[in-house]
Symmetry: D3
Subunit: 286 residues, 6 copies
């Protein structure tokens, strides 16, 4: 994966959040570190299990916010696989600053690397098929930009980042508009010109409706069996339409490769952001 | 559990965060709901698996922030066990408002109830022993107040909420101060009068040191075996000191009851907040 | 135009800005209104020239922020044409509140209605052709969401609202990536799945390149003559590709109809947001 | 004009706004610049038409907010006239940073220089008379401090910046207080000691009332003819009072010199901030 | 004093500060009130010593922020003298809400009423002379708007509220500009048209300079003796200039009447805001 | 006192407040300093009376916020006694920056040093007894963290910083819970494990109740006579319980030593933060 694919969000997009996270951790004052003298120290941040790294630049911003004089060296790159024991960041400077930034930096690194590691497992599972792994809106409130970036670090792609950069018509919307065709027609007039429209299909009949009209860019195949999805791909291919197909619903590492084998373009996995276990990353003062 | 134990944080403490979460979800504008007419609707929020509820008042604040005219009825109480299929919240009002609040409300409810459910499993496991289940600082950045509340909803207790409301002296602090006694002496002068001091002990020898001096309120037994912890409890009891003991390190549901059997006062479990899987809660428009 | 096309941004997206605008207007304290007694009053907001209204709900939020007890009645709808003398809003309540909200409400209404009025002129000019009028990124800093909405009130469409909901590859990007094909290939992997990719073409040769590769959704025809654009449309139609064409560069009311006649899908007009003159709207206490 | 007259607002007064403007432009993430490698670049910001520059230090803050390592050289000074083709700013550093700051910097420069340019035209028109050109409260919400500065860059003066630094009694206030004398008496007790009081006069009779009482510092002559204003000046001069006169209402470049010829002290022009067209300024990567 | 002179700042000007004050008082959570059941209660806020009330509407906003359902009745008006034992506010509603708002409401009331009470003492002392009592910039950071209002509640006047609504030229400024006349000339061009210019004079010679030039509205007599000030008043009166005189420096209740007797227009007293002792006001649950 | 006891709050905890304080002081723009040329200058900040310094690092942050290029040298340490005439800070750099930061820096230094100076007087008074001087919640809204730090600079200790880091049960709470024992039992379950519980006792009977139950860490002796307090200490000592005693109510410098002589552990003094007079500190440009 080339580094430029992994441009993290600009710090202006999350710096104030980091400050709030630090204040949330400290409360009124960190009495523990106020109880001991400050002195020069070195510290390593180390992976305690194999993982895919995500969030190193974010963690660096945390330490810089605590003390701009801290020297922070990245010993790995976001998106890289780290073996157990691999040092991913090296700090030198005020011991107090290191201790005051430690917990927030680790809490972020552990969660983001957890998402990247799980994403990478899904991506590896579908390697060689044309399918791409997508995330969903089931992100942690307040951390969406960073979690979406962690998905990219794991080799996945983002579905959409907000309701403003992708228009999805679900059952409710379609019922309210009186059918797929009128819903899409309104949506196309409402949405900005560079935003795609996706329609949720619960049956192949609904997919056929989408193929029959203009304006649908992507169809989400909702909770279909592999056989149904394979048939959906066949219908799409036969139609000559450039419409893309996304498989969705209860994806697991066990099942994902057979889903990818149906020929769908995207497979979305809510667990990437709502259930990725935190990976184990430690900070040691040396 | 009586309801007054479960006072949630005051909305002033998190309302601006909820607003930010909604803006984060929507981006510039929710084109999907802008594509369909707004109309009166009813919706149910339902548990899809057995769980302990946490976050209902928080979720209500989400919907109120979207539309103060929405009628939101809580059909359960935080801290209550809900069986699969149990309706926990009922909404009536603008369909657009329901859809615009849905995802953020569910993302919060699923995570907080996940923490409450896991906490409840640990608490049930130690029922009848005197031990209390504590959380740690390994919380999700930005959600700490709410996650700490979810731990209380699950029957657990909070360790400390910030570095300002509890003073913990770890290995690093003790080394820097030149021993437990001098570290505690300084800490006692530094800390506010109503804050307790906890010392991390990696050996029983260190516990003995703590018992020999004034000013230590709690000792954290770090990664000790059950046998060591039982011995620690014996030492403490023999000392006639009111000092409290907290077991820490790699607690699992399998192990926790035998740890509680050693007689420790507290058992802290990082997984409550860093690894609780989100539970499944849905919203259905009816 | 049907009303649901004109869903304004949710007040949570701009309410804090309105508060800041009021504080900016008042400074430390409004000494003028503090010099006279408060009393019940009625006021009309009236168009002083023919215009297309935009921002009425925004203006209502301004007055509500000053005094929730003010009664604010909308006498027109956003997107509606108002003749000279038409009352568009009616206020009753505290005279002091009306005076304290007046200037900010009018400053917003005049600008937003100015943009809607100019947009409507362009939209009317291309009526009957298939071309749609788009806005650009040349918006007033701090007012983008509202100005983009004003464009929709005038019958126009939004191009993209931010750099996050549309990916445009310009000359610089293409040069840096080593050509259109490699730039598009990277962009497609970088961008979320529901975001379209647009490529800027300064020559028909570049359009041909775009037609020859996958992954380009829209081509911007930069500063081309009408003849070139007509040829571009011919090339696109002959290609059988669903790619869309956007005309850009020095659009004026005089020229826009002939541009639309070339068959392009979109015509983008920077002036909608950077040069629309404020229209004249007054508030009169009665 | 000497440079010290042109002290811009302190960056603390607007820096957070600039950050918000950048986030507003980018949305979740700038996918375009994330698609191409970052590399060292040089760029020029150039006037495309004759103009009076305003906002260079503000634009520099924009680029610094994106990347503190960017080298930004001001090639002109605010308040200076720039011919077409004149380079006003020179940038060197990260190409990605330049692209990410470009649009916001230009949107500000174009609007502020537009206001400065129009102001300068009015100021030049009244050169040699004693009249000074003033702005009004009809500013763009959120940009008032910067627009007021742009007026100074164009050689104009500020009327007041907020309702807190000048007290204006209009028709409504006077009616409510029961006449000019009682209104002024109350206002003088309410207002801070260093704030002047201005009274709006629609007739010469009202001006006579103002001249007859203490406490009025400035009289606004509202929509009077040149003949009336000349008479007003005569009355004021004959009175021996130091009271100042401001002409207001429908000022145009065509009319302003004859208004100045009446001997009024100030002429206020709403168009400076509500109708100044954006001037054309470009950024070119070289 | 009539009530309209006492218009407090609009809540939008300080409401966010009140929220911050409450969060500052509570920290993470108010464990005390969470320990007891919530129930309906009544409470009185009572003056424990004679005082001039200031801040009742501000205190009401505090309680409303805690719980909009609390009924808050003002039993006195800002600016009113209250005897010992006088109830100034009556609350009914949730006991928890009353307790959570109590401390912040009292901390504000006690300080603001302290300033109003001290101001009233100075104002009473100079009653019958023409002199008005002014405040200074020596306010409590973060509370300036409210403290300036408290001065008005005590019958005093505000000098200026910020550096933006009054221009004061001190020794440093005059030296840097090369004399009073050039400093005033520049200042007059820099300042908005409705802002007055005050010059600090340490000698009568400097006052004479001010009287000899145009553009000075007020002269501050810095640390002069009563005799010098009387001479200053004589010079001013003899000059026929409308220039106002402000006495400044070490004013005390003992001295202020004799200063007022010199005929100065204003007497500024830093102690009003930097040294007013908090008055004693209690809340009792009944 | 050793310097590490005096760790001030981290700047992230108050930097945004300082920015707000500066904007509050300046208003829209500092016209005075805009009227004179900027030039290199030196300035001294000097104690005008004997005092205990507090807030030097905070004041340095103020000047850095105005101009990061200012050189700021601390000539004393927080907590140090300074004689009259002692220079405590030395500035060199832009004269305009010095003038723009001066007032806010002094307003903070004068108040914080006032609190430190008064605290030191109380602490000196009880020297040699075991009693420690505590502050209360009667702090200035918005300045609590800094005022609590100033108390530490004066040699005092903090009671609690917020309602979240100490649990105090008062008369109201106890009545609502039905007695001390049930109130404490609930509180112990509600509160985090590292937070102490304090009970307010108005009679010795209530103290006896506290000594008879578990879970009370501190008892506040409310408005007792010295004799009662001495008896309370006797009861506590006889009980063999480690419970601490805090004397509270109308403490004065005259009385405090005799209170300390009763053997209480803590003496809390509201005046430290609600009535400390500002000390006199000046800035002189040299």
């Amino acid at each position: 994966m080339d580094a430029d694919r992994l441009t993290p969000p600009h710090p202006l997009s999350y710096r104030e959040s980091l400050h709030a996270f630090l204040r949330e951790d400290w409360g009124t004052q960190d009495w523990s570190s106020a109880s001991v003298p400050d002195r020069p120290a070195e510290a390593r941040i180390v992976a305690k299990s194999p993982l895919v790294v995500a969030g190193l630049e974010v963690a660096r911003e945390v330490f810089r916010a605590v003390d701009p004089a801290l020297e922070v060296r990245l010993m790995a790159s976001d998106g890289e696989r780290a073996e157990q024991g691999r040092e991913v960041m090296h700090l030198s400077g005020s011991s107090r600053a290191i201790l005051m930034g430690e917990r927030v930096a680790l809490n972020l690194l552990q969660r983001l690397s957890g998402t990247a590691t799980l994403t990478r497992a899904f991506v590896d599972e579908v390697a060689g098929t044309g399918a791409r792994i997508l995330d969903t809106r089931k992100t942690t409130p307040g951390l969406k930009l960073l979690e979406k970036y962690a998905v990219r670090c794991g080799g996945g792609s983002n579905h959409r980042l907000t309701l403003g950069d992708g228009l999805m018509l679900k059952e409710n919307h379609i019922a309210a508009a009186g059918g797929i065709a009128p819903a899409v027609a309104i949506a196309r007039r409402v949405a900005p010109s560079l935003v795609r429209i996706e329609v949720e299909a619960e049956t192949l009949e609904q997919l056929r409706e989408c193929l029959a009209i203009d304006g649908v860019d992507v169809v989400l195949l909702d909770n279909m069996s592999d056989a149904q999805m394979a048939e959906a791909v066949g219908l799409r291919n036969a139609s000559g339409r450039g419409l893309l197909l996304e498989a969705s619903g209860n994806m697991s590492l066990e099942r994902v490769r057979s889903v990818a084998g149906t020929g769908v373009d995207f497979i979305s996995v809510g667990a990437l952001t709502h259930s990725a276990p935190a990976v184990d990353i430690h900070l040691r003062i040396i």
